[in-house]
Amino acid sequence: MSVSEMFAALQGALGQDQDIREEIRKVVQALEQTAREILTLLQGVHQGPGFQHIPKKCQKAREHFCTVRTQMESLKTKFPADQYYRFHEHWRFVLQRLVFLAAFVVYLESETLVTREAVAEILGIEADRERGFHLDIEDYLSGVLTLASELARLAVNSVTAGDYSRPLRISAFINELDSGFRLLNLKNDSLRKRYDGLKYDVKKIEEVVYDLSIRGLNKEATVGGGGEK
């Protein structure tokens, strides 16, 4: 084979690669759009009246996840199934964002941490690499860390809205999450960087709890049920 023929063949392969990337990018853009819509919807809980409508908002968010599932389904068809990590960086960001949103919904509904399997199910993907398009563990953990900062914000705003018991529950949750993350030996990568931010979220929530306890507001919360009616 002559040199020019070899390079022509390589160019063909690279060109195909580019086409695949282009296709993936289109689907990822659509996914980002859906993710933004869900985020806007859930942002409502930070406003005063939003606290009363949490179940309704979660319900709506879950409906949007149906769109996510169909979009994921089309993403899966855009590239060979065994080359997940070749194109990983294209959907990494949006997948982390979606994990966060799913985790937020699940937290608001049940105040528990969504499992990796459950997120995978909500997003319509697999938890295991062996079974196809899957949720990478680092992406899952990144999404969970985003949830932590969102909950720190929620703790502050729930006090403003007069719900004094929620910060205590958030505090317990975040503390457990923190000790969970401390089990991990993280490398010096982006996940580690985001984990380093977790302590500020923990600190912030602890401050809120402190403010409530020196004013005796936490007792009122446990006795009277706080602002929830």
Partner: protein, 285 residues
């Protein structure tokens, strides 16, 4: 006394986190159990990555040595000997690549691609350099990959007694060099060819530079054909490639114009000053 102190220190330092974890959640909650499995998964992944990085570094070093060895080819009278020695070295490199392939069984190769990519590029450079010296042509990516299919038989030298004949068949491993790794390796090859060109003039070899300039031109044309279809690294190499080609073309030019005027034994001097001049232009030492 001191024993107690030592014990306490030991307790505090590496197990600090474990102590706290016991305080906080006495019965391991669902969350903690799942994080423990995450720990295992992440550690396994990181360990594998580190092992691959180490293998890749070994591959790089051995390939570089092979290239140095091959540079001695033109100047030495015992050319065949050097070629066979380089073959032995490349076999050693391939054994390392086999280990890489074994690490990657059942994995997505691209997940660990960043760990092994530098080594593979260097290997492509070495193997294509040897191929060029032998055949004066460019090795194809298919040819490179053909040499990276390993069977268990290679291993028999060491584990002859223990290996069973029945599990020989399923044990084949292969590694595919990606087009991009191949291209980057070939781009590095051109730098080696440029050095080969200059040094061959030093040995009074007038034909090789012309042959090389033609070959480099073909590769350069190939790279320009690919242009920006490839990733960023490929287009970055294109610039260095252009410089290498310019050096070789200038060498040929000088040979043509002045070669007939200068006595053969002085050619080396002419080129040593010439290359210095080019190096200075680029601001290199």
């Amino acid at each position: 006394g001191s024993g107690g102190f030592r014990k306490r220190k030991h307790d505090n330092f590496p197990h600090g986190q474990r102590r706290e974890e016991k305080e906080n959640v006495n019965p391991p909650s669902a969350l903690m159990t799942s994080f423990k499995s995450f720990q295992l998964e992440l550690d396994t992944r990181h360990d594998k990555y580190e092992r691959l990085v180490k293998l890749s570094r070994d591959i790089t070093i051995e390939s570089k040595r092979t290239i140095f060895l091959l540079h001695r080819f033109t100047s030495a009278p015992n050319g065949e000997e050097i070629l066979s020695e380089s073959e032995v070295k490349l076999d050693a490199v391939r054994r390392k690549i086999k280990q890489v392939a074994q690490e990657l069984v059942g994995e997505d190769m691209y997940q660990f691609h960043r760990a092994i990519s530098p080594g593979l590029q260097e290997y492509v450079e070495a193997v294509s350099f040897q191929y060029f010296i032998k055949t004066r042509s460019l090795i194809s990516v298919e040819e490179v990959n053909k040499q990276l299919i390993f069977t268990a038989e290679d291993r028999e030298e060491t584990t002859n007694m223990t290996s069973n004949s029945h599990d020989k068949e399923p044990h084949t491993w292969s590694l595919k060099v990606t087009p991009v790794d191949y291209l980057l390796g070939v781009a590095d090859l051109t730098g080696e060819l440029m050095r080969l060109c200059i040094s061959s003039v030093g040995n009074g070899d007038i034909d090789t530079p012309f042959e090389l300039s033609q070959f480099l031109r073909q590769i350069y044309d190939g790279f320009t054909f690919i242009g920006n279809t490839g990733p960023y690294e490929v287009s970055k190499k294109l610039y260095t490639l252009k410089q290498s080609l310019a050096k070789v073309e200038n060498a040929c030019y000088t040979l043509k114009v002045r070669g007939s005027e200068i006595p053969k034994h002085m050619l080396a001097d002419v080129f040593s000053t010439k290359t210095e001049l080019i190096d200075q232009e680029e601001g290199l030492p």
